[in-house]
Symmetry: C2
Subunit: 157 residues, 2 copies
């Protein structure tokens, strides 16, 4: 009985390749993070806070690409773990100011190595040159196809 391979016509369609690769990548990263009781989104928020400093939830949402409706739960979890502080903004009582705690920094440090490991394993079959090239090409691609600049973020009346 043959190994029933995927037809060549399908195997070379870029959108299919992207979907498959993204699935593999997400599974790999997700497993690694789950082993640390963490999540993709937690990492993104912690990185953003570390890199760009304290911000409102809406700002974090724009910077990370996480919808502000989903951001609530993410921040709740990070706050439960004492990784962030959430305090009302004095200047604008609509906003919350989200800031990193020392525990959050330590958490980020740990997740950083986990993420790095996962990326390394993900890209293992490629040379370092190829890895850079892949990142570059994907960057060009996502840069080009980008929602009309400020992301819509619908839901306002």
């Amino acid at each position: 009985m043959s190994p029933t391979p995927e037809p060549a016509r399908l195997r070379t369609i870029p959108s299919r390749l992207l979907a498959g690769a993204a699935l593999v990548a997400d599974r790999l990263v997700g497993e690694r993070l789950a082993a640390e009781d963490a999540h993709k989104w937690h990492f993104a928020v912690l990185v953003t806070l570390a890199e760009a400093g304290a911000a409102s939830q809406a700002e974090l949402s724009r910077r990370t690409g996480i919808y502000r409706s989903d951001m609530v739960a993410v921040l709740n979890e990070l706050a439960d773990a004492a990784c962030i502080r959430r305090e009302p903004a004095p200047a604008d009582r609509r906003r919350n100011v989200i800031s990193l705690t020392p525990a959050g920094r330590r958490r980020l440090e740990r997740l950083d190595t986990v993420i790095a490991d996962a990326q390394r394993e993900l890209l293992a079959p490629l040379t370092t040159g190829e890895q850079d090239e892949l990142v570059r090409l994907l960057g060009l691609l996502t840069e080009h196809h980008r929602p009309p600049h400020p992301r819509p973020q619908r839901g306002a009346r």
Copy 2:
């Protein structure tokens, strides 16, 4: 007010880039196919039938990567549009033999151009050389991370 950009640390993480690119690609292809009342999966099945000939549902499932539980609906829809025939296999009464009809061939022809257009638009920001390289790298990546050879396809008792 700043345009609140994505932090550089996030923008260069391969798994994130892959997820983003796959999202863009899937949306693009999905929209194009939806305009033809078609679906990703329909195309995959039609291509597979055209390339490898008639097959059972389970075989199609393995070749396309579509789960056989999802395959049922896909084949129902294709049969409703008279794109495929579904007849019991004489040699093995468990199997159905799925085969392409002339209408299915015409349908595939149409979807082929739709898919090709979508891929072209997806890859527009890349040179043809870069497009080939991207496909090659993604191929290496998905090839390397592959479930222990025959896909598990759980659900048996």
